[in-house]
């Protein structure tokens, strides 16, 4: 019986971890901070899993713990300026409201990423996939740190506009 619960928890956590992490990133955009919060959540979820009703959807149950950990983090965070608890809370609420919109955008995003220039893809790969710091990217490419940040912003800007445009066309 205990082994079955372990397996169930493992399956659910693996299945839904990306979704929970994306939720954390709404309020805490820094990836290291977000992963720390995710880890704290994993421990909390496991310690409370005996109270989880398998007939219920896992994500809403887990999101309760995610919100608690986010709030705890925002209160104690001193090394980076964070959004206020109220702003974070409103964003988390509205993320659920706009879930369908964001899901639809997700589908177009990959197409838009494919349309980036090779140079832009290298920046995305370096910063997001390889998790290279902006300082190091600047050194490697011979650009200034500010230029790399500008580059990232232009890329996200372009992706946002591309997704917008594809959403309008899809309608």
């Amino acid at each position: 019986m205990e082994a079955e619960r372990h397996e169930e928890f493992t399956r659910l956590l693996i299945q839904h971890e990306p979704e929970l992490l994306r939720c954390i990133l709404v309020a805490v955009p820094n990836r290291t901070d977000a992963r720390d919060i995710m880890q704290e959540c994993s421990v909390s979820l496991w310690s409370k899993f005996s109270g989880y009703d398998s007939d219920r959807n896992f994500v809403p149950w887990a999101l309760g713990f995610v919100r608690i950990e986010i709030r705890r983090f925002l209160r104690k965070s001193t090394h980076r300026t964070q959004l206020t608890e109220r702003a974070a809370s409103l964003l988390l609420e509205e993320q659920r409201t706009f879930a369908a919109d964001l899901d639809a955008r997700q589908l177009h995003l990959q197409t838009c990423i494919d349309q980036l220039s090779e140079r832009q893809k290298q920046v995305v790969d370096g910063y997001y996939r390889m998790e290279t710091s902006v300082d190091e990217l600047a050194q490697r490419t011979g650009q200034t740190v500010d230029a790399i940040y500008k580059s990232l912003q232009r890329i996200r800007h372009a992706l946002h506009d591309c997704v917008d445009s594809r959403m309008r066309t899809a309608k």
Partner: protein
């Protein structure tokens, strides 16, 4: 900095915050704006969504099914975090650490012992055949059986198979369908022909579930949809979420949201479009030449059908050559311009309430027409045909589901003799087989029609099938 910033400035500020380079004052201003303005919150969510999607790419890239890599990644995260936590050890209780370690060990132990199966049989009805990747054939599939990759064939009109992946994604297929299932990481289904309904849990965005048909490729993140396909085309109907459909012949793609459908054929002249079910029509007239399913009905022209009938009458001594002009003259004259008929063909099925041999005629409904045909409470099927001897015939339809129910099959039975002309209100059709069949097809989208009999002497043939919204 004030709240009167333009959208572009807010966007820049949001980006600076996402990159962690916004000043304390800028974050304070942004927080204040987010607290008071829902439009800025939506803008933030959309910008953040791009940032988060790119960031979590590494999480999604690992397929859920690739358990060992996934566990290694998770353990790596746990270990990384443990190092971070050492700097603030006082915040963690001994119990938490123990739980984390216990969790790691449990995950490793459980998943390293998991077999390579990718799906579990949830429900089986009628005649179903499974051919595994190794070539082993299983004809007696049972609920609870776990399978690796292979090909599933539902081989008769009353067949149904419901399969469940590890992540809870379910796919069902019915009637005469053939689908190859692969799930080594990314789920891939090759629907060679037939109908497939899917209820897909959220998939990694870099590895969406793929459904391939001879003419289309579907990319599915997480949604509910139905698709019917054969070598010439595929019709997709989405009940929930969003599916990206790509036409194989020219690579044209379209995103199909809930309540919409699209058709991908080999014809590239027509634009691939997503159409709302609100554009649905409620009438249909079968084209027996184009719409019949191979192997389930043989189309014969009116002239040929008449000649065969005359030949049989002569053979049986019911007619003499001299009587032909007087008995069949007017029909022979009209036959040159008349529609033909669909003669039911014999088909072996698994022994059941209809025996193990039926004679069946089946039609695809509006397969190549973009508009959906939706059944209403007042829909009436008119079915014309003939049988040689008094026979019980079973008339049925396959219908795509709505947001409330999956695809299903519906059936009614009638006893007929000689030429028949039946008017069947849709309410007469009752749930026969299928996931989500809830008793009535009202509101559902029609995708197939069939008529069969178990009487081997019936010589069942169908000359016309129409659907009208109401009686004239």
């Amino acid at each position: 900095m004030t709240a009167q910033l333009t959208d572009a400035r807010w966007r820049d500020l949001i980006q600076r915050h996402l990159d962690g380079i916004a000043s304390h004052q800028e974050v304070k201003t942004l927080s204040s704006q987010l607290e008071s303005c829902s439009e800025t919150r939506l803008l933030y969510l959309r910008m953040q969504h791009i940032h988060a999607s790119l960031l979590t790419d590494d999480f999604d890239e690992q397929p859920i099914g690739s358990t060992e890599q996934r566990v290694l990644e998770l353990i790596s995260h746990l270990e990384q975090t443990k190092l971070t936590l050492q700097t603030r050890r006082q915040l963690l209780t001994v119990t938490s650490i123990a739980a984390a370690i216990f969790l790691m060990v449990s995950i490793w132990f459980i998943l390293s012992n998991r077999s390579a199966d990718i799906i579990e049989v949830t429900k089986i009805q009628g005649s179903v055949r499974w051919t595994g990747d190794g070539g082993n054939v299983i004809e007696d599939l049972r609920a609870g059986q776990r399978l690796t990759g292979g090909t599933l064939e539902t081989t008769s009109v009353d067949s149904l198979a419901l399969l469940t992946f590890h992540d809870g994604t379910t796919v069902s297929t019915a009637g005469n369908s053939a689908v190859t299932v692969a799930g080594n990481g990314q789920k891939k289904l090759h629907l060679r022909s037939g109908v497939l309904s899917a209820d897909v849990q959220r998939q990694p965005k870099k590895q969406p579930m793929l459904v391939l048909t001879p003419t289309a490729r579907l990319e599915v993140i997480g949604t509910r949809f139905d698709i019917v396909a054969n070598a010439d085309g595929a019709k997709l109907s989405v009940r929930e979420g969003l599916v990206r459909a790509v036409r194989t012949s020219d690579g044209q793609s379209v995103s199909v949201p809930a309540g919409h459908s699209t058709i991908a054929t080999t014809d590239v002249e027509n634009e691939l479009r997503s159409r709302s079910h609100n554009e649905a029509i409620h009438a249909w007239t079968a084209n027996l030449v184009q719409d019949h399913k191979p192997g389930e009905g043989e189309y014969v022209s009116a002239m040929l059908a008449l000649r065969l009938r005359i030949r049989d009458a002569l053979t049986n001594g019911k007619l003499t050559r001299q009587q032909i002009p007087s008995v069949y003259g007017p029909q022979l004259a009209a036959a040159t311009e008349a529609d033909g008929e669909l003669k039911a063909q014999p088909k072996q099925i698994k022994q059941g309430k209809f025996g193990n041999l039926i004679h069946i005629a089946s039609l695809y409904v509006n397969r190549n027409q973009p508009k959906s045909i939706v059944l209403t409470e007042k829909s009436i099927f008119r079915v014309q045909g003939t049988v040689a001897v008094k026979s019980e015939i079973h008339i049925g339809i396959g219908a795509f589901g709505t947001t409330r129910a999956g695809a299903g099959r519906f059936l009614t039975s009638h006893t007929v003799v000689g030429d028949f002309d039946l008017k069947i209100p849709v309410a007469q059709l009752q749930a026969f087989r299928g996931r989500g069949s809830n008793g009535s097809p009202v509101g559902m989208e029609l995708f197939s029609w069939f008529c069969f009999t178990s009487n081997p002497k019936s010589e069942l043939s169908i000359s016309a099938v129409t659907l009208t919204p109401a009686l004239d």
